[in-house]
Each structure stands twice: as C-alpha cells, then as structure tokens.
Symmetry: C2
Subunit: 242 residues, 2 copies
C-alpha cells in the first residue's frame, strides 16, 4: 500500500488550494486557542463551542453558557474568564459546555470542516495526533490558524513536528514545500523551542499584553493523549482513542 501524504497550509487564506474532502485536517493555533482547547478537555470539559466574534460569544452568554472571551488581553465584561489555557481549570470546566471566542482559530475550524474530519492539534497532544493519523491511514493537512491570515512561527513549528514524526514513521510522505520547510524549521528549533519562539511576532504581541506566561506551557510536548474533534459545530473528546 502506498504512503499517505502530509501537507501543511500556512494560513486560512491559502486553504482553498489545499482542500481535500478525504483528508483529516489538524487545526493548529498554538498561542493560544488550540492549546487552551486541549487543556479544557484534559481538565474534563464536555464540549467546547468555538465562536469567531465577540457578538456570538455574548449571545451564548445570554443563553446561559460559560464563556471564555477576551480581546487584546482584556477579559470581556460579560465573559466568565479569558482565553488563556490556565483559565480552564478542572474546577471551572469539568463536565461543562464552554464557549471559546477566537478569531483566527474559529475561522480555521470552519474552513477545515469541509475535510473528512477536523481535529485540534497542539504540542500538548502531538504524539497522540500522530498515532491517530497513522491508525486512520488517511492524508493529513495541518492547517495553521496563523495571525490575521499571515504565517506564524509557532503554528509552523507544530506543523513541522507533525511532519517530522509522520515521515519518520515510514507511513507518510510529502512533496509539499510548506511541509518540508516546516520540518526543517522544527529541527532547527526543537532543542530550544522557547528560545526560538522568543523571536516570533505573536510572542511579542503576548508579551506586550502581559500574556506571555502561557508560552512555556503551550510549547510543552505530550502532556495528554486527548484529541479534540469537531462534531457539527462544537468540539468533543475523540472517543475510542487514548
């Protein structure tokens, strides 16, 4: 049997050129949406509803949902807490449905929903994602949420880590230049991931807003085997896999 393919899409704006209804799409928004979503499930959340706008988040709040929503580092007045992974404590999220407001991440999830399956990828569940990809024997597209449609380093490094592990497994191959470049950047950065990400634009944005306390955590590998998966328009824990 031939190998499966891995491709990397650096921005939601490029996704139309990658779209494949047969592929599993791994959506990655390392700082901070995909890391926060993984954390919520690690801590027992039952369902995460990603929404793109503050207006949608407010509407959910008015219907009684628990809502995580902030912009530029300030928690929205109607929200229960902000977007940091550290807010998703077991005390708050266990067995709950939570609305998570994220501009870049939500757009990426919506686009990806044309694929066979949408899963949420972070460094926190990297090896589990790769094991799942190998077990499913399907082509993989890593969709980097990026920053306002632009390429970003941290999502690319995650994509490179997945590319590296999947190609090393012998079950995947690639002729995608984005995947090759991501893999090379990952191999350049992996021995000092925090130092490397330190130069990225998003790192500086978070630092400016005092939100950079999450970076070390978001760059931690394999804290969990949980894979969030899209069901209709919300995320649940992928069952039968851990």
């Amino acid at each position: 049997m031939g190998k499966n393919k891995i491709e990397v899409c650096f921005s939601p704006a490029l996704y139309p050129y990658f779209e494949n209804p047969e592929a599993i799409v791994v959506v990655s928004d390392i700082l901070r949406a995909s890391s926060a979503i993984c954390t919520a499930f690690i801590n027992g959340a039952d369902r995460i509803i990603p929404v793109g706008t503050i207006e949608e988040a407010r509407e959910f709040k008015s219907r009684g949902y628990m809502v995580a929503a902030e912009r530029d580092g300030i928690v929205k007045d109607f929200a229960d807490f902000g977007n940091s992974p550290f807010n998703f404590t077991p005390e708050r999220v266990n067995n709950k449905h939570i609305v998570y407001s994220t501009t870049n991440g939500t757009q990426a999830v919506q686009l990806a929903s044309s694929g066979y399956k949408v899963i949420i990828g972070a460094f926190l569940n990297l090896q589990a994602l790769c094991d799942y990809a190998i077990s499913e024997s399907r082509d993989i597209i890593v969709l980097c949420a990026g920053w306002k449609h632009k390429f970003n380093l941290e999502d690319t490094l995650f994509a490179g880590a997945m590319t590296d592990l999947l190609i090393e497994s012998g079950k995947f191959e690639t002729i995608c230049d984005s995947a090759l470049a991501s893999r090379d950047l990952w191999n350049l950065a992996r021995h000092d991931l925090i130092g490397y990400v330190d130069k990225s634009a998003q790192r500086n944005r978070l630092k400016k807003n005092g939100l950079d306390d999450v970076i070390e955590y978001c760059l931690s590998l394999d804290l969990s085997r949980i894979i969030p998966v899209l069901e209709k328009d919300y995320l649940v824990k992928l069952s039968g896999f851990e």
Copy 2:
C-alpha cells in the same frame, strides 16, 4: 532615523494582508520567470511585457511581438521560444521588446503594482537589489510568486537571502514571522543551495518535464547589477543604478 522594515509574503493569495503603497515590492519567481527576466535585461533586452495567459501572449504575437511562451515544458506553436532563461540570448533579445508569458509571475507583478515601486528579484541580482533597497530607505516587501498560490522553497530562500543581507546591513529590521523563517531557511540552505532545492516540489516538476537544466543557473548569486523595474505594464532596466 528609525530602521526600515522588511516583510516577506509567501503567496500572491496573502498579498492583501501585506499591501503598502509606500513600500518597494520585490517580486520573486526564481524558477523561472524572475531569473529569465533578469537574464533578458543582462543580454540587452529593452522591454519585457509580462502576460498571464496564453491567449494574451498569442494576441501580442499577432501584433508582431517576439513572444516567450510555454506550458508544461512545451513551447507554444505560435511562440518564438520557451520560458527558460537560456532562451534569452543576446542574439535574440538585444534591444528588443519581448512578451513573457508566466502565470504565477504575472499575477504577482500585477498585485504588487499597488506598491510604491515594483522590482524583479532573483539570486542573479541579489546584492544589487539590497544595495538599491538601502539607498531608497523605504520598507521592502518580498512577494514570492509561489506555485499556484502555494508557498515554495526557492522563492522563500531568495526572500531569506534578502532578509539576511538587509538586516545584516543594520538599516533594516523585521517583526514579520515569514521574514524570520525565510532567513533561517536561507542560512540552513546557503552552503548547498542546489542540494537543498533538490527536494522542492518545483524542482521535481521541472525535472519531470526535462526543464531542470536551469536550476544551477537560477541559483547563481550576483551575476548582474541590473534591476528590472515595472513601468506602467511592462518592465525596463532601472536607470541610474548599476
């Protein structure tokens, strides 16, 4: 005085998020359009008219222009020769106006024309481009033509080389993750550029079509100080700079 900024845009599809009417835009399509266009001017061409479609190329031919046009490695029957830089010999192009048909490159040039100035970048004129950028004291956007809107390695390496030289000059800075990633890839590849590009998708496409004889040439640095510049809808040699 503050430093100027360099940014790198990996695809024409991402250009709307970079657009800046005050910036000089360097359009790069290393394999092969920007390398061929530089070569044409090195060999004395007077004007290059980039066109996006075969139909436009045919229309220009019927009006008496010399036309370079091919698709998938086959020279179009109405054309004078194909798209390889090696076709632009002094005997053919000296003092001539030439129509050059290129899908990715032409689209990139058209988009870039919203900038302050559009110049054509290749490894062949790398140092001259950087000297010009420094002399103009304006922000720079390197627009990679890519391949059918996707990221490609060879244009990225060129962008990385420009980023590296401009930042090393002390006159430029960047907070653009694409520029940082390009620069790191360039520094990884620069000591064996041909070996590195060997793994790229475009390299394989050219090889399959027997067009890979140009790769070594297109990856040669600083063969010329000539900079092609867009004037209205055609390219000429930038005057007053060599």
